[in-house]
């Protein structure tokens, strides 16, 4: 089974769960006066769940034949691409999200840019370091001073 049909299967599951909630569980604690309304909070979701189930089924069962288009990046040949780099960058993003508050903006950001560039094969430290530091400081200044949104610049144990 091709990837698009696997995804359709997953989405069918999502639609079924959503539909179950809309049809059977949502209306249980609806206030009595609301029941006289022609529209309930679950009305629109009910319609959506049916449409969603129909369209995912069409793709899942392959009713609509697709022409074999030449995709830009073919997932069947994923191994030939720089998969490791992409995964590494995703991991870096997660680490950044976790570290942003505790370690402060300046450190996390410069580390993210340096490690990101390193992952992609950059080795010129004398360019990487200044660029990352200037970018981190510059963005922090813009966000904090110009836009007025607070971001903790330094790690929690050093400053505020």
């Amino acid at each position: 089974m091709a990837l698009d049909r696997w995804i359709a299967l997953i989405l069918l599951g999502v639609c079924l769960a959503y539909g179950y909630a809309a049809w059977f569980t949502m209306d249980a604690n609806l206030a009595p006066f609301m029941r006289r309304n022609p529209i309930w909070p679950s009305t629109f979701p009910k319609v959506l769940s049916i449409l969603g189930i129909i369209s995912t089924t069409i793709v899942l069962l392959g009713f609509e034949k697709s022409e074999a288009s030449e995709p830009d990046v073919d997932y069947r040949r994923l191994g030939e691409y720089h998969l490791g780099q992409a995964l590494m960058l995703l991991v870096l993003m997660v680490i950044y999200a976790i570290c942003l508050r505790p370690l402060g903006f300046l450190f996390s950001t410069s580390a993210f840019i340096i490690l990101g560039a390193y992952t992609l094969g950059e080795r010129k430290w004398h360019i990487m370091l200044p660029i990352a530091l200037i970018a981190a400081l510059g963005v922090w200044y813009l966000v904090q001073q110009v836009l007025g949104i607070y971001m903790r610049p330094l790690p929690g144990f050093i400053g505020v």
Binding site: I7, M26, P41, P45, E64, K65, E67, H82, A86, G116
Partner: protein, 503 residues
Amino acid sequence: MLEGLLIGLQTAFSIQNLLMVIAGCLIGTFIGMLPGLGPMSIIAIMIPVAISMGDPSAALILLAGVYYGAIFGGSTSSILLNAPGVAGTVASSFDGYPMAQQGKAGKALTIAAIASFAGGTIGAILLMIFAPALSSVALIFHSAEYFALMVVGLSAIAAFAGTGQVAKAMIMTILGLIMATVGEGALFNMPRFTMGIMDLQSGFGFITLAMAMFALPEALFLVLKPKNLEGDEGQIKDLRITRSEAKAIAPVIGRQSLQGFFIGVLPGAGATIASFLGYAVERNIATKEEQEQFGKGSIKGLAAPESANNAACTGSFVPLLTLGIPGSGTTAILLGALIALNVTPGPRLMIDEPQIFWAVIMSMFIGNLVLLILNLPLIPYIAKILAVPRNYLIPFILFFTLMGAYIGQNNATELLLLVGFGICATALKFADYPLAPLLIGFILGGMMEDNFSRAMQLYDGIGFIWERPMTLGLLVIAAILVVLPSFRARRAKHRAAGVADGD
């Protein structure tokens, strides 16, 4: 209208807004040139900046500048590198790149700049004429018609936006609508589908979703498969075009600006379709000798898509500004930004806040002029930007998407959501699911349900569908739009058995 023009001029010519136009055009041109990054990612990245400025006119002017700047910049990389920066300029590379190979890169860039300028300007004039007319019609619309109109818009997007696979585009639209129902709606005062998670109480963040749908997958695709940027590093000289060449392309530009504009107005058909169609039409109506030239460096073949895509860009603002219904992913993002700034585009926009509407149109004239001035003399230098090392570019794109999501919500969990959605979006992109319908559905979902509920309440049930002929008519159109492409595809398959495709 004259009064509106004056208000617009006044607003657009304030120092702040002039700076916004120039900044938007510059940013758009630079990033649009980088292959693989479309206008949607750039605008998604720019949204937090635009929203935090607080002034809706300035924000819309900036984002619109980025939009047509990106289309403009995309043509540069199409011509010089045969690596289109945005999908809307793919058709420009058909004839632009051969011209560059023949050593006429300068001439090609000039033609592209002039054609884009003309397309954008003519588009803005048409927008000025048609938007007020359409919005006065739209004022008589009822919530039932609005609901039906949104259904038409979404079906048109599903029918045209995908790569011919209507069912997949339908799934994505419905998924977007489903995601819009998560959280606490204004209408019912009760949380829905939050599964008891506090963070979902306010629903999914629009910026997070926009970044995850467009910027992240595009950046990841650039990592997975680096685009080849081995371009012609030759000198760009001889920017002039001769009088006879100007005469040859003038009618092409005129025709394609008109056609492009009207294609841009249609929901689901944007700059990309306009440019391909413009190219095909001009090839078909050209003389025999000229037809031979198409694909080998015809100036007409370059001028046609260039004016069409810029005019279509401007045309796509018509449904956004008059009906409040976006016809493309890019205008959907713009709509989201406007809603975040407390402006609801729609027929009342021109009455309630004329300065926004007219300032945007005026800024389009200024922006096109800025782009022309910017591009003609600076082209050789701008081309050097294309050598920005990707090792730095990609970490920065990722960083800006993270920053955008963080600034919007000031919440680190939002960043994890961003990465999660980004991975899902990349998987969907692998499987050839179009992503724009999801975001459009997500943005329209809330409005659609509101109008649906209002109509249901007024007519005490579903009766509004057959009691209002206009609603019924619109819904029938929507149904035809969804069914027709699959019907046509089936017929085409029968026919394709023996006959070759005529393009």
